[in-house]
């Protein structure tokens, strides 16, 4: 059997008194799109935070391409090709659209980050001032690559390359975030509710972009509430509730799983109370 690109075993994270993520196991194969669904507070974003290194697990492990990455810092994981977006959107508000995407290329900077042992930062400062040919070429290449990525979103972002991100619409900010993640050239792309707050047209556009990315063979882990979209895009689905995995498998199977239905609609008893 082929090794999984991402392999999570028994991942657990407690916060004061509650267990936000409770013994989650998941394996994502190269080129697969796996969605994580579940009601609000199910622990999906905590799971993302633990995988991407922003939070540390209390138990369990994460392996990327066979390498144990449990508890590694997010900046190291970025270098290994793990890119993520954030649930509430975290663009750099005062940076231009293009600069936002260029920050996404940071982990790939090579010419301007010399490996002088112990003096790397000093060398980086000097090279940023002097800018020899290699540095200039690298910067120019990254710039045109960033522009190409932004062109994926049609004329939504291209006319606004120099606009500060705070001036963008909400949907455009989410697009910038995705573009920034793509600029990392990720091996694993983690999208946390990429269509939150988008209207139907915008959601459809985003779905097309994600489908196109999947078609290129990119491995994607997706948190999404819009179930129709999840059904169309996903190879497999993991449903979470209360920190637990309650169902995993093919999209339709998970959707119809009684535990999933119950998690979304509540117990019959609760429903009655809610109506009363």
């Amino acid at each position: 059997m082929m090794a999984s690109l991402l392999e999570i075993t028994g991942l657990t994270r407690h916060f004061e008194g509650i267990t936000a993520v409770d013994g989650i196991d998941l394996a994502v194969q190269e080129g697969e799109l796996v969605s994580v669904i579940g009601p609000n507070g199910a622990g999906k974003s905590t799971l993302f935070n633990v995988i991407s290194g922003l939070d540390r697990p209390d138990a369990g492990g994460v392996r990327l391409d066979g390498v144990d990455i449990t508890g590694r810092s997010p900046e190291k994981l970025a270098r290994l090709g793990l890119a993520r977006t954030f649930q509430h959107g975290r663009v750099f508000a005062n940076l231009s659209v293009l600069d936002n995407v260029l920050v996404g290329t940071h982990a790939r900077l090579a010419a301007v980050r010399p490996g002088w042992r112990g003096f790397g930062p000093l060398g980086e400062l000097l090279l940023a001032v002097v800018r020899p040919g290699a540095v200039r070429r690298e910067e120019a290449a990254l710039r045109s690559e960033a522009e190409a990525i932004l062109a994926r979103f049609g004329d939504r972002l291209v006319p606004r390359l120099d606009h500060p991100a705070y001036s963008l619409s909400y949907a455009n900010r989410r697009r910038v975030e995705l573009a920034r993640a793509l600029a990392l050239r990720p091996r694993l792309l983690m999208l946390d509710e990429p269509t939150a707050g988008m209207n139907e047209t915008e959601t459809t556009e985003m779905e097309e972009v994600i489908a196109a990315l999947k078609a290129t063979g990119l491995t994607i882990l997706l948190i999404e509430h819009k179930l129709d979209m999840v059904m169309r895009l996903s190879d497999r689905v993991l449903a979470m509730d209360d920190g637990h995995s309650i169902a995993e498998g093919a999209p339709a199977t998970v959707r119809d799983h009684p535990a999933v239905v119950e998690a979304y609609l509540g117990h019959p008893a609760n429903q009655r109370t809610a109506v009363a």
Binding site: S52, L54, S73, P74, E75, A78, R79, A83, R84, F86, R90, V91, F92, A93, N94, L95, D99, L102, V103, G104, H106, A107, L109, V112, P121, L122, E124, L125, A128, V129, R131, E139, P164, Y166, S167, R180, L184
Partner: protein, 607 residues
């Protein structure tokens, strides 16, 4: 045994005062999520209110205490209402900077009304002492302990059993939820400021009586000691603050006993840095990590910076260069040279605090390192000016970055407090390391700047030298900002978490900014030292750091040209118009308050 008992009593008495201050700071931090840098100024106001009551009204002590508490409470409510409430829902560093402005205004107002000379504040208490097994405790010691214990008990009762106290605690836990449940959070803030300021003011009165002397320099010390005590107990932890105050008082008292008075503050600040590094949540907290503080380091209003076309910039430089030929007045040129030196410091600060978003309140410490490095190299080792100045720049870059590295691991408020502490430590090390720095005598006879055999002894020559440096370092900084470093630094400022998720190592890039900024600031300090020919541990003080922050905000955070403009406006103009020094600090304070309120993006806009 005898003396140690005295040190213990003394430590506990002073610790009670620190506890009074720390409790107020903790209350305010609890509900307003703010470190109140004006707290020490309220403390001073309290001391002077007490003096006024005693001197003019001849009030008996209990009445004096009540008057001081009431008067200080009014000042506290006014601070909350007029300086802080308008900043609700702004980034959390904005109100912090506003309280710095308030403290400048209050301190200068007190100084203008009462003159800066110290005054005696007699204690009015009978001069008896209670003998206990060979040692004695005075009436005043007991009074201070009594006031401390009584106010702690009253406060506990208020918070625990009164309805208003419940509302205060609810607001501290979750202001939004509290206000949805019908709590008027503005009123709660005002109440808390009133209580905290009353305690602080009474603390000022008691300290004045304890030392039988009050003056306007008490404020800064009081703010810092209160802050250290509060941090010991844990940010916003009221019982912890009382314990923190007593611990700090005892630590200081024993420290002085062992090492001497000039080490007093060094202990407090070393304790501050230690606690920030080892247990940033205080001694009594079990939480395992810092609470998330998204976007607190930034104080950046959305704005489009004003960009001057290159020919206009070139024209400005040419005019500045030709200026001494047209107007060769030594006084004006010296003033402008000072402004340009401030611009060099502001370049450094605008990079660190503006571009990278790490508010530094101890930046003048870098000038001190640079000044002493160049001065000592010239005096003790005969280095020529052209060698000692760059060497000073390099030493400042290295030393400054190493010292501030622990602070750069922190976020938001912690950076501001830690840098303030580091700035103070620089000055105290200079004061106490007599073998290297000549201690309190300072460095005198630092040689006049010279390039080879040419002595730059005219104001004109000095002006040109500094102008060249400003242009060079300014251009260098602009070039850095246009490289990948510019966007990386700004990304850290905007959202450190997101930046890390894309491979940016925050510590590395903050340190790079600090090193580059430290180099420029070190050069500025070195030139200033040669220019003044005499410097001591107080030449580059915290007031200068605060002025630099004001300059940087006035020009626009991160804005290099803005730093020059801000320096000229705030340093040169008041001097040329011959505003008296005490009014100048008042002007800075008011300027800072108005800027934060009405034009946080500064004159030329943030970059």
């Amino acid at each position: 045994m005898g003396p140690w008992f005295d040190y213990t009593v003394n430590g506990l008495v002073v610790g009670n005062i620190y506890a009074l201050l720390a409790v107020g700071l903790a209350l305010i931090f609890g509900v307003a999520n703010l470190i109140n840098f004006a707290h020490g100024s309220v403390f001073t106001v309290g001391a002077y209110l007490g003096w006024t009551a005693l001197h003019y009204l001849h009030t008996p002590l209990p009445v004096t205490i009540l008057l001081v508490a009431a008067g200080s409470a009014v000042v506290g409510v006014a601070i909350e209402r007029f300086a802080l409430r308008p900043l609700n829902h702004r980034s959390r560093i904005a109100p912090l900077l506003a309280t710095i402005g308030v403290s400048l205004v209050l301190d200068q107002a007190v100084q203008l009304i009462f003159s800066p000379d110290p005054r005696a504040l007699p204690s009015q208490l009978p001069d008896w002492r209670l003998p206990i097994g060979g040692v004695t405790i005075g009436a005043l010691d007991l009074l201070i302990a009594g006031v401390g214990l009584t106010s702690a008990a009253l406060l506990f009762g208020f918070l625990r059993f009164s309805k208003l106290g419940w509302a205060v605690r609810a607001t501290a836990q979750d202001p939004d939820a509290a206000s949805q449940m019908g709590v008027d959070t503005n009123r709660i803030n005002a109440v808390v400021f009133a209580i905290a300021s009353a305690l602080g003011g009474v603390g000022g009165l008691l300290v004045g009586m304890f030392y039988n002397s009050i003056d306007t320099t008490m404020s800064f010390d009081a703010t810092l000691k209160g802050m250290v005590a509060m941090l010991l107990g844990g940010l916003g932890n009221v019982p912890g603050a009382i314990a923190g105050g007593l611990i700090l008082g005892l630590a200081e008292s024993y420290g002085i006993a062992l090492f001497g008075t000039s080490y007093r503050n060094l202990f407090a600040f070393a304790l501050l840095i230690l606690i920030l590094m080892v247990a940033p949540n205080g001694l009594f907290s079990r939480r395992r990590e810092l609470p998330p503080e998204p976007m607190t380091g930034t104080f950046v209003a959305p704005s489009r910076p004003l960009r001057l076309p290159r020919p206009a910039l070139a024209a400005i430089v040419v005019v500045a260069a030709l200026f001494p030929l047209v107007w060769n007045q030594p006084y004006v040129l010296q003033t402008l040279t000072n402004a340009l030196l401030m611009a060099l410091l502001a370049f450094s600060l605008t990079l660190v605090s503006g571009t990278v978003g790490q508010i530094s309140l101890g930046h003048a410490g870098l000038l001190a390192i640079g000044g002493y490095a160049s001065g000592l190299l010239a005096l003790d080792h005969g280095w020529p000016f052209v060698a000692s100045v760059p060497a000073a720049g390099l030493s400042t870059a290295i030393l400054g970055t190493l010292m501030v590295l622990p602070a750069l691991r922190m976020t938001g408020h912690y950076v501001a407090i830690a840098t303030l502490g580091v700035g103070e430590i620089v000055s105290l090390v200079i004061l106490n390391w007599t073998g290297l720095t000549r201690g309190p005598m300072g460095l005198s006879g630092i040689p006049i700047p010279a390039i080879g055999p040419i002595e730059l002894d005219t104001p004109r020559a000095l002006y040109w030298v500094v102008l060249v440096l400003v242009v060079l370092l300014g251009l260098l900084q602009v070039r850095l900002l246009s490289s990948h470093l510019g966007r990386t630094w700004r990304a850290i400022r905007e959202d450190e978490v997101a930046a890390r998720a894309y491979g940016v190592e925050p510590l590395r890039y903050k340190a790079m900014a600090f090193a580059f900024g430290g180099f420029g600031a070190g050069i500025a300090g070195a030139i200033a030292a040669h220019l003044y020919s005499y410097i001591n541990h107080e030449t580059f003080n915290t007031q200068l750091s605060i002025l630099a922050i004001t300059v940087v905000i006035l020009g626009g955070l991160g804005n290099v040209l803005g730093a020059v403009l801000g320096a000229v406006l705030l340093v040169a103009l008041p001097e040329i118009f011959r505003a008296a020094a005490e009014y100048r600090m008042l002007i800075y304070g008011i300027a800072l308050l108005l800027l934060i309120r009405y034009r946080p993006q500064g004159l030329l806009g943030t970059i």
